[in-house]
């Protein structure tokens, strides 16, 4: 990865002008179904924000509401400090988005598709079209019909289309879907670069490893309710595991399982893997020593975003 952004220090106050997107009490009902419930989000300039959730969690509905495609039942969406319901066009002309999958006119070439969008948006030159196609390595195939493109090329055209209007907010839904490993890496490198250009990137992805690599902060929603919203590093620390080696693993396991602050203990390859609160390694060691069980190895093991996600969502598949 070329340039991975780092989390903003918690102590740094966020200026109001740096808040690109803010949702307050965002709610959407489809009949009796509550697709999104009281969602409060904030996305800052220069940040790559991962938006995760199992299938049907309400991610696409949320994105649809942010883009003015779906009317919220309740709540407020502010983008660039403007309320979406009142300033839709002023906002959307500064937003680039691919929703679920890139969708273009199959009978037009890649170039013509971008030109059609450029004509609708206005003020976009042919040089700009060339520039964005070059940026996604699609210039040499720009005159080919869109329906002759591979999935990866379609994705790259989608990303090119989001860059046409020099957006300050980019919403990408599964941007690496269908890309080969080289293409995936290119896009993965591109996303943090975009955020560094004083934009904000809102990324929905199934690929939790990808989110872990490129995102500064993630929110996880399940059944329309946000169950986590924190910097990636913080989430990973929350899910940190302690790995120990002892002579009597059975007794050690029984002792640890009796401690109320320990969530789980499992044996794995001769080690005990303990799910305990952050910075509790010394307490684990002390508890075992009190029972004359001495630890011969003790290491912290970072949880992956995937394991945190599965833990938070109760094992639902990501999406």
């Amino acid at each position: 990865m070329a340039q991975q952004t780092t989390s903003k220090p918690q102590s740094t106050p966020i200026k109001e002008t740096d808040i690109i997107l803010r949702t307050t009490g965002l709610t959407k009902h489809f009949g009796k179904l509550e697709a999104v419930k009281n969602l409060n989000l904030e996305l800052h300039r220069g940040e790559v924000f991962g938006f995760l959730g199992p299938n049907g969690a309400g991610k696409s509905t949320t994105v649809g509401m942010i883009l003015g495609l779906i009317a919220p039942t309740a709540g407020k969406i502010e983008v660039f400090g403007l309320e979406l319901s009142k300033h839709r066009w002023q906002i959307l002309r500064r937003v680039g988005a691919i929703i679920e999958e890139p969708a273009f006119y199959p009978y037009l070439s890649g170039w013509d598709n971008l030109e059609a969008l450029a004509r609708a948006l206005g003020g976009i030159t042919r040089t700009k079209i060339t520039e964005v196609l070059e940026r996604v390595n699609l210039l040499d195939r720009a005159q080919d019909r869109y329906d002759h493109y591979s999935m990866g090329m379609k994705q790259r055209l989608g990303i090119a289309s989001t860059l046409l209007r020099d957006p300050e907010l980019i919403i990408l839904d599964e941007p690496t879907s269908g890309l080969d490993p080289a293409g995936t890496k290119e896009v993965r490198d591109l996303i943090p670069q975009l955020a560094h250009e004083s934009r904000a990137v809102f990324l929905c992805s199934h690929l939790l490893h990808e989110v872990e690599l490129v995102c500064d902060r993630v929110a996880i929603i399940k059944q329309g309710v946000m169950i986590a919203n924190a910097p990636v590093q913080e989430l990973l620390t929350q899910g940190q595991l302690i790995q120990i080696k002892v002579d009597d693993a059975v007794q050690a396991s029984a002792i640890l399982k009796n401690l109320p602050w320990i969530k789980s203990v499992k044996a794995e390859n001769g080690y005990l893997i303990i799910d305990a609160p952050p910075n509790s390694a010394s307490q684990v060691n002390k508890a075992l020593a009190e029972h004359n069980i001495f630890v011969s190895e003790l290491t912290s093991r970072n949880a992956s975003l995937e394991s945190v996600f599965l833990q938070l969502t109760g094992g639902d598949s990501g999406g």
Partner: protein, 287 residues
Amino acid sequence: MVRLIGAELFKLRKRLMTRVLLYVLIGILIILYLLLLAVSNVVIPAHGAQVLGEIQNLLGLPMAIPFALSILSSFGAVMAVILLASSMGNEYNWRTIRTVLICSESRFKLLGAKLISAGILIFFGLLIGVVAGFIMSLITTAIGGYAFNFDFVTGNYIWDQFLQFWRTFFVLMPYVLLGFLFSIVGRSAMPGISLGIGIFFLESIITTFMVLAGGWIANIPDYLLYFNVRSITSMASLPGEFNAGMAFGNGGIQLPSPTHAFITLAIYGVAFLVLAFYLFRKRDVTA
């Protein structure tokens, strides 16, 4: 709005189907003229000289424009319905609807741009159809050995044809807007095309049965589309047997007055338009 119209025209212009529809329309005109030319040389025993005279009259230059407009009012409607319903419905089929909405100042302006751009192409389609009809009339006049006489081109004639051109444009609109409405309702091109064209053809059959039924039922067609469209296309002053485009004659049916027809068709057009805008404005655009 102008930007959106430009984008819509760009997409329609680049689309092969737009050209195919125009070629089909011109092809139909050419085939009809050639068929009429062939028939004009055959004596039809049942109707004899009167029908023969009308056909030869129809092939003549003075009738070229009204006849072309009459054909365009029927076949042109089919092409126009396909053009607009697919322009709207395919945005759903290709899932580009969300992309275009994000690039549009408002939903109203997007629909407006689609209607205006399709209207512009329908206008040019009619114009090209008229020119094609006139050229075919020149050709059949030459082949048939009839006289090239342009004395009929007077100020009144040009004014009449100008009015008839816009009448033809006007009678297409209810069907086109109906197709547009159903492409929005059905979120696809197919409902718009099938219902727009289906109603165009089925209504003529249904209204015929209604007239045959007599009583108050026979009055219902006066408030539907077909009779009102015929009332307006009949103003072209074609020879009797060809007065209603491809319907060939009024069959003794009493058509509503042109004023009644204009008002009724305008009400239908506005109703379809308002409904289409209302539904599109209110609707969540999901996957």
